[in-house]
């Protein structure tokens, strides 16, 4: 009996963890290329969720089919934000590799986006409708598997795989990787670093949109929905190694498992403390994270 619950918690932990990984994926990608921590990441997730919500509400599409609208919309949003707000800072602080001012700008974006959502959509908690995935569960005796989470986990792995393939195999992907390793050298090789930054930000934001579409079938949408995901994403990307795609998924799964299995032994408020403890431990022992590049810290 206890084993059943343990298995149940493990399964949920892995599924939820992969979804956390997907949520953090955009953040890690943006950091990998721009070397910027996007403090507005949670707000990007929030925007992704609202875009998904409206895409589904207005068209009546299945949330996963709505990705066809969500992904391009979010890509353009990220591209535009980078071009408008972050690029000028890079230009102004050319000799600094990680301009700290970007942190202020992204936090400013966070305030603006969250409260714009409050102003425009109000504080209501919105549930997706139509929601074909709502409450769908697979049943194996005593063990339940949530279908929307299963879809989400699969989407996480698929997105990470696609991203990995894109970065390894395509011309654009190689240019992005070259820029992330050494932006000056990449510039010398004729790569337009601003365009790369815009595209990387666009992709990172589009991934946040995918995360939004994955979350809405089992999560409500409201203006501050991004905040809990924000800090969690930071923890995940540092655990996995800033800039590492697979690291984000593994970091996500670790957090998911700690959150799921921890409460068997303690209250879930203490597991939260464990998560932060684990985070600090990794920082002290292996600051580059599990899959991080040493040159990044």
């Amino acid at each position: 009996m206890d084993l059943v619950f343990f298995a149940q918690d493990c399964i949920n932990g892995v599924l939820m963890g992969l979804i956390y990984g997907l949520v953090a994926l955009g953040l890690t990608l943006i950091f990998g290329v721009l070397k910027v921590i996007n403090f507005a990441h949670g707000s990007f997730i929030m925007v992704g969720m609202y875009v998904s919500y409206w895409a589904v509400t207005l068209t009546g599409l299945h949330p996963y089919l709505a990705l066809g609208i969500i992904v391009p919309a979010m890509f353009l949003f990220g591209y535009w934000i980078q071009n408008l707000l972050i690029r000028p800072i890079f230009i102004a602080e050319r000799d600094v590799r990680e301009p700290i001012t970007v942190i202020v700008v992204t936090t400013g974006m966070w305030y603006v986006l969250d409260n714009l959502a409050l102003l425009v959509f109000g504080p209501d908690y919105r549930a997706l409708s139509p929601n074909p995935l709502k409450g769908q569960m697979l049943n194996f005796g005593e063990i339940f598997i949530s279908v929307p989470k299963l879809y989400g986990a699969a989407a996480a792995v698929a997105t990470a795989g696609l991203l990995f393939w894109f970065l390894q195999k395509t011309r654009m992907g190689r240019a992005i990787r070259a820029t992330s390793l050494d932006r000056d050298a990449a510039s010398l090789m004729g790569i337009n670093q601003w365009k790369i930054f815009n595209i990387a930000m666009g992709i990172g934001t589009a991934v946040a949109g995918v995360a939004g579409a994955v979350l809405t079938p089992f999560y409500n949408v409201y203006p501050t929905v991004g905040i809990p995901f924000d800090v969690k994403s930071f923890v995940i990307v540092v655990l996995g190694g800033l800039g590492s795609i697979w690291g984000a998924l593994v970091g996500g799964v670790i957090i998911g498992l700690v959150e799921s299995i921890g409460p068997i032994f303690m209250t879930s408020t203490w597991t939260e403390a464990i998560v932060y403890g684990l985070f600090l431990l990794v920082l002290f022992v292996k600051p580059s994270g599990l899959f991080g590049q040493k040159h990044d810290w």
Binding site: D2, F5, Q8, D9, N12, G13, M16, Y20, N115, L118, G122, P123, D124, Y125, R126, A127, K134, G135, M137, F144, S146, F218, Y219, N220, Y222, P223, T224, V225, I227, P228, F229, K232, G256, E259, S260, I261, G262, P263, I264, T267, S268, T269, T271, E272
Partner: protein, 409 residues
Amino acid sequence: MKRIQLLALSLAMSLMLTSLAFAGPTVKIGNILPLSGPSASVGQQGKQAREMAIEEINAAGGIKSLGGAKIEMLYADSKSDPNVGVTAAERFINTEKVNVITGAWNSGVTYPSTAVAERYGVPYIVPVSVRDTITERGFKNVFRIAAKDSWWARDQFTFLKDMEKETGEKLSTVAFVYENGDWGTGFVTQWKKLVENSGYKVVLDEPYPSTATDLTPVVNKIRRARPDVLMLVSNAADAILLTNTLADYKVSPKVIIGSGGGHADPTFISGCGENARYVFDIVEWETDVNKAGAKEVNEAYKKRYGSNLTGEAVDAYLAMYVLADALERAGSLDPAAIRKALSKTDYTSGRGMIATYDSVQFDATGQNKNAAMSVVQINDIGKGLERITVWPKPARRAGYTPVFPMPKK
């Protein structure tokens, strides 16, 4: 630096001028509410109810004993932050020279901001903020409309006992699951005191972070503990998440009972849909309350703002009428006079008196001693999911039999 000083000065001046601009016979009420941040939803409800009440009062001729003085409302956003709440209270009292303050929903904000009002001797009406100690500090200027923690908890247990008697269903185990904020942990302290003499066994005592992104582990603990009664204290987002997850995992204790807050949020039902069915919730007010005028007020509110009144909104609405009544009797804007009038309040009739009980009266601590609770059940009896009053029995909606225990899923 000089320029900045100048800028600050001119800002300060313009502020003073604006406050001078409103002369004439007005009563100023400062309202501190969480209008942005995680509690924005409930803050907005409180604001809307206040607005409607004050417009009605002003339209009906204002405060007659003060020569038909109109009431002017000022709002301040606390962001649920005590420091911001204190600054707002300071500003209301000293700069805006308000006559009365109301607020602040978050106990964490009410607590220090009432202390400010007490220091300056300005009456402070607390429509809702449930922590017991708010009225237990010997303050002379604080008046609370809503019931306090311990009463909510007491009535939840009484409800369970009454229903056991009524239905013959035997309940033996309870689980406490609550958000780990000041509200949740404050509430659960009361439960723990009460449960000792109730004969119930506590099989789970589980706080969870109110910003939790996944409550499946908590739900699994509930599954494992197999309680007869699941008692919850939740904010809106987590109430919805928890209810949906419970349904997903087919967890069906005999009784699920919430403690207002998130369970009373208008979006709770739309966010959970069928999953919310049969959930009990303790509230101070419900749309089906058998009270003269309640329906009209609710209709007016719904027409204006698109949703039903909530317990929180009713307390705010009532608070405005209680205040107007006290001002009428005080016939003066002297704080001492207002305070005296408030303490002698016996508000029994009038448009504002739509609460379940008969009269608002404050005891020596400033607590509305008549504040009473009712329990509702969410169910669909042909008109979609709605909240149906079931307890106390005399207040029960005619013809409705509570589903107790919940059917197994």
